[in-house]
């Protein structure tokens, strides 16, 4: 019976849905996290031809040839890159991106990763690094006798040194944008990698046309909305239950057939 397979496809789709939703909820407080959505598509339709049948239009309900669908499949899990709320942290090395763009991070492998999580700090050599100790690109070293750090909206990093009234420029942060942000590959640790689908990175200083600006002392909160996620979780659970109801019904119908006395 096809209904059994169709319902099974529905159950596995809803299971994936729950997995994506639970990942969103788990990352509700992750800096720079972008929520994901699982989207579904119907499977191929089997055409059952019936010759000589008539067609008549009646409002919204439209008669067509007999097509029986085979269920559902996961179409894609994609990120919604909506801006997260900037959260004040008062850490001078925290930067939130307001608008489009990603900060660059050098991985130990030599690859460049991209991130929206601008909660930075310095390492033992004074370099600006991420929470995991990866250096932020282009590399900026904060001198030891620094009393104050300023990161401008356009990414200019200036420091005030002990005993010097004039601020010193020590570096310029850059942002990267992509033709297709959705094509970036997530590798965990709030990092993303460039792929063939995303296209090559375009680098520019923050504030250039098409690029966001930086906000010092802020981090970008996750854009997960708890209420929406919980609602989706309920919907997913009910949908899962309904699919299992289809299996029960199909099973009982098969039972009715097998119990026919011969």
């Amino acid at each position: 019976m096809q209904a059994l397979r169709t319902a099974a496809s529905g159950m596995s789709a809803q299971q994936l849905n729950v997995e994506v939703i639970s990942n969103n909820i788990a990352n509700m407080n992750t800096v720079g996290f972008k929520r994901q959505r699982a989207e579904f598509q119907d499977l191929l339709y089997q055409q059952v031809e019936r010759a000589g049948s008539q067609s008549s239009s009646n409002g919204n309900i439209v008669p067509t040839g007999v097509q029986v669908g085979g269920g559902v499949k996961a179409g894609s899990v994609y990120r919604i890159t909506e801006q997260g709320t900037p959260t004040l942290t008062d850490n001078p090395l925290d930067v939130a991106i307001q608008g489009k763009g990603y900060l660059q991070v050098l991985l130990p492998s030599g690859e460049t990763a991209y991130t929206r999580a601008g909660n930075f700090s310095t390492n033992d050599q004074g370099q600006i690094v991420t929470e995991d100790g990866y250096t932020v690109q282009p590399g900026i070293t904060v001198p030891q006798n620094t009393t104050d750090i300023t990161i401008s909206k356009t990414g200019l990093v200036q420091v005030k040194l002990d005993g010097q009234p004039q601020p010193q420029t020590i570096g310029q942060l850059q942002l990267a944008t992509f033709m297709n942000e959705g094509g970036l590959e997530q590798i965990g640790d709030n990092l993303l990698l460039e792929t063939a689908a995303s296209g090559a990175a375009t680098l520019a200083a923050p504030g250039e046309p098409g690029f966001g600006v930086l906000m010092q002392h802020y981090t970008e909160a996750s854009n997960v909305d708890a209420v929406t996620e919980i609602t989706s979780l309920i919907t997913a659970q009910r949908a899962y239950e309904m699919n299992s109801k289809v299996i029960t019904t199909a099973d009982q119908m098969l039972q009715a057939t097998s119990q026919l006395r011969s």
Binding site: G69, G71, N243, T249, A256
Partner: protein, 245 residues
């Protein structure tokens, strides 16, 4: 006498097909832009069966058409820049490897060349049948109610929203796509409104589908019971008639 069994069997076959369709509706309860379907059956006049007293009519039941309900699905806010939903009758026009296809699933994105594409990479066409090119350096994309795509003050193009003369000519092709089976070309749908940052939910009504499940199951069991009784009738007839006094 066997007619009752065959008529019962024809009903059971349509009930099983209807269950397949209801199962598909339920499986797609969360599929963007999905349209509910139901099976329409008709009676099929068969050749009169010969019985002792002459001919008596026999009517079988046959699955005839699928009724597709194109009622508007609820709008769900997603916040995605390239997520668009259509309010009213109309389809987005996309170009797949297999040819022109139509969809109400507006989860679009851009490819590395900057063209607006579906999640599967099929090109989304504008009202003139050409691709829509998004320039990431021009800033945020806004899509107006009439489908006009613009970036700041720059007009990129207008999403092609089309409709057939008769919705019955649209056949489902899987992947949330429809195929046009009629010879006529699709016309622009000027009264269909496009909403950015929204997606159209499936219009499956869970309560209706679960009710249908119960109905199908009870009808199926009823027919099985009827077939059982008919078989019992022939058995007892043979037993009694064959008994020697």
């Amino acid at each position: 006498m066997d007619n009752a069994l065959y008529v019962g069997l024809s009903r059971q076959m349509t009930l099983r097909r209807q269950l397949d369709i209801v199962a598909n509706n339920i499986a797609n309860a969360n599929t963007t832009g999905f349209k509910t379907e139901d099976l329409m059956v008709r009676t099929e006049q068969a050749k009169p069966a010969k019985t002792l007293d002459g001919a008596s009519p026999v009517k079988f039941v046959l699955d005839d058409r699928v009724a597709r309900d194109f009622t508007q699905g609820a709008m769900t806010k997603t916040g995605g820049d390239f997520d668009v939903a259509i309010e009213g009758t109309g389809f987005f026009h996309v170009q797949t490897a297999a040819g022109d296809r139509y969809t109400r699933d507006g989860r679009f994105t851009t490819n590395p060349e900057g063209q607006l594409v579906t999640q599967e990479g099929a090109q989304v066409l504008d009202d003139g049948g050409g691709p829509l090119l998004i320039d990431p350096t021009l800033g945020p994309v806004s899509i107006g109610k009439d489908g006009t795509v613009s970036q700041g003050a720059v007009r990129v193009g207008r999403l092609g929203v089309v409709r057939p003369d008769d919705l019955a000519s649209m056949a489902k092709d899987g992947d949330n796509l429809y195929r046009n089976t009629a010879n006529t070309t699709l016309q622009a749908a000027p009264d269909a409104r496009v909403h950015q940052g929204m997606l159209e939910s499936s219009n499956v009504q869970p309560v209706v589908e679960i009710t249908k499940l119960i109905e199908i199951q009870r009808a199926y069991e009823g027919v099985a019971k009827m077939m059982d009784n008919t078989a019992e009738l022939s058995r007892s007839a043979v037993e009694r008639l064959g008994k020697l006094n």
